[in-house]
Amino acid sequence: MKEELTKLVIQTAKDLGEEAIDNCDDFSAETRLFGDDGLLDSMGLVSLVIAVEQSIEDEYGQVVALADEKALSQSNSPYRTVATLVDYAHSQMPAGD
């Protein structure tokens, strides 16, 4: 499931048209998205979060909120890398662990 989600997040991110992502040679699960050395600025992150929410809705028919208070207040931000975002999305899905 997480593997599928990782592919979905990576594809969604690539479809965004964000220059920083387009110019990233090796965009993978370990790529830093936001924060120190992150590819995205705050509006880029907003775009990605919205797009991933929509992709999950389309792919799995599940409505998830990836920007709720929990995510914003977590000391280890779920937006650090693709992998942390995938973990967080997975935890928010009703069928997730």
């Binding site: 509006m43 775009s47 919205i50 929509q54 809705e57 409505v63």
Partner: protein
Amino acid sequence: MNEPVTVITGTRKGIGRFLAQHYVAAGHRVIGCSRSENDYEDERYEHHCLDVADERAVKDLFRHIRKTHGGVTHLLNNAGIASMNHSLLTPASTVSKLLSTNVLGCFVFCREAAKLMRGKKYGRIVNFSTVAVPYKLEGEAVYVASKAAVEGLTNVLSREFGEFGVTVNTVAPVPIETDLIRAVPEDKIRALIDRQSVKRLGSFEDVANVTDFFLQPESEMVNGQHIYLGGA
């Protein structure tokens, strides 16, 4: 531009109903909602029963709009409730209900619409205030507070959304013959009209004239503005 998709809240009656018919006649695909069923039918109109403050229901509505219509061009946040009573006689439950529909509902619709508009880098949002805000009308403390909050939301959202081509403005009608003011005594309405520089009741057409202006593509430089009818 393809057929514009226009979402209007509170379309069962009054201004919302008029605007739904007005924009259907103008060739828009109109998606309306209200808490209960609507008797207005047209092939260009679809109705959804929901409470605008029900976040989940609103998210579901926009998911449906995204899948069925591919996006949203305009949002008219017309749904609102009023309470006219001295503040000393206003229970907290009334405050909660008003803020929920008028502020929370408006916010959630703006947020969900803007998510879709963002992808197309184009959108027009019109929120609804009231001249009771600048007139500081006695007996409408909570209603005025809720609409002042809507104006505040408009101010900030216009800046947040402006960068991706979405404008957010407010129209503030004067009293119109709707259910909202039917319970207000005649002398109170007269006193209010006397404060206006244009001394008559408003009409639905007066409101549509302003929303038409805000919605037109040429109004891209009109953002974060509040238009008060009647010269308030």
